[in-house]
């Protein structure tokens, strides 16, 4: 599995990066799992806000009105009222920080608005100017700051117990304890880790985590721990905290052991591979093996739900002009499903069993975002959407070779808007320079 080294953060500036590359950030509304992801529709260019005035000699914090000129995720290019077409003092600001308010907040808080000193004398009558500029313009909803605060609350707390995939043994789960919660991302420490360093990062909506008892309930392999009883303060995370999967009817025409399909390789997310259903579990879950790369003991089988956007019917790649990775050691190239099924005496899983829903996700090719490197899931990196196939996004990590690209679902909780790291206090991995890569 290919993973990247940590790049020193230094001072990466999303605003300058977006501007100098003449590109766009994916809108926050593309990320329903992110804070404000479901209430971003009214945040647009032209909206006026009250924001800290940084162009003043006053010793106290003062505010002035600014207009959103351009949006990139949570970040907005702002221009103070009074600068008209003068772009020289434009600045980027994260819209969800506590110093950003709807117009009217200063008056209700008893704070006077003070114009920037560089245009202080430009207008003799600021009242007339502001009435003209603001009448009929849009501002943020009055409850904007409350909404941001509410959206930054997460139900998972330290010492909650979950079942999570064993990162060293993909076919089984283990118990882990929540150690840290940042922006909905959990640092989980596997139970029995001596020094707390055996950890795994994932979002709280990740399909890789489940409530205690999940593995047993569906027949998934599970590493029993020798810890007999819970330590003080530990509590099982309630089942309702976890993402629900769709109910499926397994009684008729269901997946069967040996059926062939195409699946994203969990150990190389750049590749969609020829794969086999190895075991049918309960509640719609399947153990999948990547053909030609399977360990004899099945230790690298991987659990995907049948509705997962990471499994596809045979022929998906060919139809969509995606390179399909043939089984390792298979020499009859180019790979042809018809021949392979005949030679292996197997059948393809019926197309009707797969999830064909394509959400109106809003992503466009070239959009910038912050994306988890799923091979090193504690890293959130500067990234670009380079290809879109129905609901599948090809994520390129800026500055890295294409071989590090990953196929990711449009609703993946591992994708975030520009500015998410800044908002949540997570460390962002900037684009790699040549020296970093070396």
């Amino acid at each position: 599995a290919k993973s990247k080294a940590v790049v020193p953060a230094e001072s990466f500036d999303w605003g300058r990066y977006i501007f100098s590359n003449n590109t766009v950030g994916a809108p926050v509304s593309c990320f329903k799992h992110a804070p404000m992801g479901t209430c971003w529709a009214d945040i647009e260019e032209g909206v006026r806000i009250e924001v800290l005035n940084s162009d003043t000699n006053l010793s106290t914090k003062v505010y002035w009105i600014a207009e959103i000129i351009k949006l990139a995720g949570f970040k907005a290019l702002l221009r103070y009222e009074g600068f008209d077409n003068d772009t020289s003092k434009d600045f980027w600001c994260n819209i969800c920080i506590p110093e950003v308010h709807p117009v009217g907040w200063c008056a209700s808080s008893g704070k006077p608005l003070v114009p920037p000193k560089s245009i202080q004398h430009k207008y003799s009558n600021w009242k007339a100017f502001l009435v003209k500029r603001l009448t009929g313009a849009k501002t943020l909803p009055p409850d904007f700051n409350t909404k941001v605060h509410e959206n930054m609350q997460f139900p998972f707390k330290k010492l909650m117990r979950v079942e999570v995939v064993d990162k060293n043994y993909l076919c089984r789960t283990r118990v882990a304890l929540v150690e840290q919660v940042i922006g909905g991302r959990l640092r989980l420490v596997y139970e029995e880790s001596q020094d707390g360093s055996d950890d795994f990062w994932c979002h709280m909506f990740s399909p890789l985590i489940h409530n205690i008892g999940w593995s047993r309930s569906i027949g998934h392999r599970f590493k029993r721990s020798d810890i007999a009883k819970k330590m003080e303060g530990q509590v099982d995370a309630p089942a309702q905290f976890f993402q629900k999967v769709k109910d499926v009817d397994q009684s008729v025409d269901w997946f069967r052991d040996g059926m062939k399909l195409e699946a994203i390789d969990p150990l190389n997310l750049s590749a969609i591979c020829v794969a086999t259903v190895r075991k049918v579990l309960a509640d719609g879950y399947l153990m999948i093996g990547i053909d030609g790369s399977e360990a004899v003991d099945g230790s690298d089988w991987f659990c995907y739900h049948s509705t997962s956007p990471s499994v596809f019917p045979a022929g998906f790649c060919e139809i969509n002009n995606i390179e399909l990775t043939p089984p390792r050691g298979y020499t009859k190239l180019p790979f042809k499903w018809f021949d392979y099924l005949r030679e292996s005496g197997s059948i393809a899983a019926p197309v009707k069993l797969f999830n064909k829903e394509v959400p109106n996700h809003g992503f466009r090719q070239g959009m910038k975002l912050e994306a988890v490197d799923l091979m090193e899931p504690r890293l959130v990196c500067v990234a670009t959407v380079t290809r879109i196939v129905h609901r599948l996004l090809r994520i390129h990590f800026d500055g890295w070779e294409d071989e590090y690209d990953q196929w990711v679902d449009c609703e993946s909780p591992d994708l975030y808007p520009v500015g998410w790291c800044q908002l949540t206090g997570y460390q962002l991995q900037p684009p790699a320079s040549q020296s970093n890569r070396d």
Binding site: D42, P102, G110, V114, A137, T139, P141, D143
Partner: protein, 34 residues
């Protein structure tokens, strides 16, 4: 107000306070309509 994606834009009287005094303007702000 005007409907937009399940939310409603409403005209609001917004107070502005400057060093010269206080006044109000009419702006648009959205209200959760869900």
């Amino acid at each position: 107000g005007a409907e937009a994606g399940g939310r409603k834009w409403e005209q609001k009287q917004v107070q502005i306070k400057t060093l010269e005094g206080e006044f109000s303007v009419t702006m648009w702000a959205s209200d959760d309509n869900k």
